[in-house]
């Protein structure tokens, strides 16, 4: 199988929910493929490293690159020598690659050939030559150190810096933002993340295939359903098991419920950030109603651990279906009222419109994805472009806006809630009867991939088993990797007090990419 008119032979991988192809490439082939993919308007999904030395003495390390092509997902593996592992710098083509490459450097010790090589996940709390994902790295503790991170400085008359974080002035996750400002206007924002890095990928090693789903579901708690589904897809590909049809439909029900819950919360908080606490209270009330029904029907407010390899752990009866359907009607009515109020509220619109703007052109250049990408005209939605079951039958409509401002990101959320409510009703009507779970047995030395459109964007999981059938390597990729750098652009020329609003309108995960 060949793609993009290049003579690189890909092997189709069986048992994947989305058509998936893999190839082993050299430096030149990787460069050629990246350039062709970029020229064709396709995108880099994820980039991660692995240690292959304990497989065979002749092997060193490997860096893997997953691309989204029209035909499906392609994974290119670049083997690297053990002594001087260096790989091509893809950041000039795909800016989102920059931080992923820095993370590979921290975790595995393979370096990008050029570009930014400052540490990313490592904060001077362990030495630069301690690479946690190498198999021969012992689990050690090192004395804490204060990191002198070389931020890019903006020089000039009247320019000063505002340093914020890691602990922020609200109930949010930790990160550091360094603003260079002139008066009220932001000239530059540089993010320093990685504060929540807790060694998840190392933790995966040697877990049983069935156990990993709990950890995957806790990479970013607000997207637990999407992570658990992506992980389960990968595990099912390894075990050669296909979940029963009913399980697929119930998974989609849970995923859409997660999407609605998060969108409701965000719309409230965006109102709050422009001093419309009415909006916060109303939307938080709706969100609470929503998650309470989750707890009543499925036993967990955020639906953690409800998707498992092989299927789902919860079923729904007629009475439950009726409760969900009634709730959809109620929420839709309320949403119409609240959207009317948001639309008509001059003070709110004044703060939303043109704030934190990313034009479609810039968004394409930055490789933005997911919800924030769609608000800037980027038509990426796996449910539409690579629909796995049951989305191939649900045929969701993609929500796209082109203004790329806070208002556009609010509109995409409104549109997506409406569409999700529609999908949920359709799922309730059309879910086939049958089993909800099948057995998944691990197989030795196999790879599997999972790829799911969560509420924030596409979540990707690459899973690999070792000779004993236990997890050898599991890489979890959050869409925030691609969109965090875009936030640095969104704030330029906006005033400092608008940053919380712009940040909230993106609502990116810190825990997800920090891993």
């Amino acid at each position: 199988m060949q793609f993009l008119n290049l003579p690189i032979e890909f092997e189709p991988l069986s048992g994947h929910a989305t058509p998936t192809y893999a190839a082993c490439v050299n430096d030149g082939e990787l460069r050629a493929f990246s350039e062709a993919a970029h020229a064709a308007g396709r995108r880099l999904v994820a980039l991660w490293g692995s240690d292959e030395r304990n497989r065979e003495a002749s092997l060193g390390f490997a860096v893997h690159f997953a691309f989204d092509l029209i035909e499906g997902l392609t994974c290119l593996t670049l083997p690297l020598p053990a002594d001087a592992p260096t790989f091509p710098d893809l950041a000039p083509l795909f800016p989102g690659a920059c931080r992923m490459q820095r993370a590979v450097m921290d975790m595995i010790g393979a370096r990008p050939a050029s570009g930014d090589r400052r540490p990313w996940l490592r904060h001077a709390n362990w030495p630069a030559d301690y690479h946690p994902l190498r198999h021969d790295t012992p689990d050690s503790r090192f004395p804490l150190d204060n990191e002198e991170y070389p931020f890019v400085r903006v020089e000039g008359d009247g320019v000063h810096e505002i340093a914020v974080g890691p602990i922020h002035a609200g109930i949010i996750e930790p990160g550091h933002f360094r603003f260079s400002v002139m008066g009220e206007n932001v000239l530059r924002l540089e993010q320093r993340l990685g504060w929540k890095h807790k060694g998840i990928e190392r933790r995966f090693a040697d877990m049983g295939l069935g156990d990993g789903v709990r950890l995957a579901g806790r990479v970013s708690g607000d997207s637990t359903v999407a992570y658990a589904w992506a992980y389960s897809q990968a595990a099912e590909a390894i075990g050669g098991a296909a979940p029963p049809a009913r399980a697929d439909w119930l998974r989609a029900l849970l995923l859409e419920r997660e999407r609605v819950a998060n969108h409701l919360g965000d719309l409230g908080y965006m109102g709050n950030d422009v001093a419309l606490s009415f909006g916060l209270m109303q939307f938080m009330r709706l969100k609470e109603d929503w998650v309470r029904l989750n707890a009543a029907l499925f036993g967990h407010r955020f639906l953690m651990d409800r998707i498992v390899p092989g299927g789902v752990s919860v079923d729904i009866d007629d009475e439950g279906a009726r409760a969900i359907s009634d709730q959809c009607d109620a929420i839709e009515r309320e949403l119409r009222t609240l959207k009317g109020i948001y639309d008509e509220h001059a003070g709110l619109q004044d703060r939303f419109l043109t704030t934190g703007r990313i034009t479609p052109q810039l968004a394409a250049q930055l490789g933005m994805i997911g919800l924030a990408g769609r608000a800037s005209g980027q038509r990426w939605d796996l449910r539409v472009s690579h629909p796995c079951a049951p989305y191939d039958q649900l045929t969701p409509r993609i929500a796209v806006e082109h203004n790329g401002d806070v208002a556009a990101r609010a509109l995409v959320r409104f549109a997506e809630i409406k569409e999700s409510l529609h999908l949920i009703r359709k799922i309730l009507r059309e879910t086939p009867a049958g089993d909800i779970r099948c057995d998944v047995r691990s197989e030795a030395d196999k790879r599997g991939f999972g790829w799911i459109e969560g509420w924030r964007g596409d979540i990707f999981i690459a899973l690999e088993t070792g000779a004993d059938g236990r997890i050898r390597r599991c890489h979890c990729h959050d869409p925030s990797w691609q969109n965090w750098p875009a936030l640095e652009h969104a704030i330029i020329d906006n005033i400092v007090p608008d940053f919380p609003l712009i940040n909230k309108s993106f609502n990116l995960s810190y825990a997800g990419p920090d891993l």
Binding site: D139, G170, I171, G194, G199, R218, V219, D222, T337, S509
Partner: protein, 177 residues
């Protein structure tokens, strides 16, 4: 304006009564003096610190502010600075990268201070455990008064725990420390 007022009227007051304090959640004997508690009454200021959670605990802490739980009606509010806080509400296993920040927030909180560890991770390290990048449970880094387990704990469990930190040990029948 009128659609907003109409919506507010139509919604009515949805706040629910708060749960009683759950004494079982106390990790250590209460360190607050009786005088202090009298002064504090039920007005409590909390500084939340996410030391490395998966962010699900944050979602539930956010929910405390919704009209159903209406935490502010109990005189409990969240502050932006630890210097204004009586209590630190800490989530997550403590990431090594957050260890210094958490200790600084603790040092910046005026005495007497309360620390509540939130979630299975805050109580035990949870699924993330201890390793090169994780210090595990919160009490491995700063002293903890009350631990609220759950993955994540529900808003009601959070309220029970927060109130448990406020209710003096003496009132539960035991002698004050």
């Amino acid at each position: 304006m009128f659609p907003m007022l109409r919506q507010i009227l139509r919604t009515g007051i949805v706040s629910e009564p708060s749960p009683p304090a759950d004494d079982a959640l106390r990790a250590v004997r209460q360190r607050l003096s009786e005088t202090m508690l009298k002064q504090l009454g039920r007005a409590l200021v909390i500084r939340h610190v996410d030391a490395g959670s998966c962010n699900a605990c944050e979602l539930e802490i956010h929910a405390l502010g919704n009209p159903y739980y209406n935490l502010e009606a109990l005189g409990i509010k969240f502050a932006a600075s630890p210097r204004h806080a009586d209590m630190l509400l800490v989530t997550g296993p403590v990431a090594r990268n957050m260890e210094v920040a958490l200790k600084r927030a603790y040092d910046a909180t005026p005495e007497p201070k309360l620390v509540v560890a939130v979630g299975d991770c805050g109580c035990t390290g949870g699924i993330f455990g201890e390793g090169y990048a994780s210090c595990g449970r919160v009490s491995n880094v700063i002293p903890v008064d009350v631990s609220i387990p759950g993955c994540p704990p529900t808003p009601l469990q959070l309220m029970e725990g927060i109130l448990a930190a406020l209710v003096m040990e003496g009132t539960a029948g035991a002698s004050p420390a």
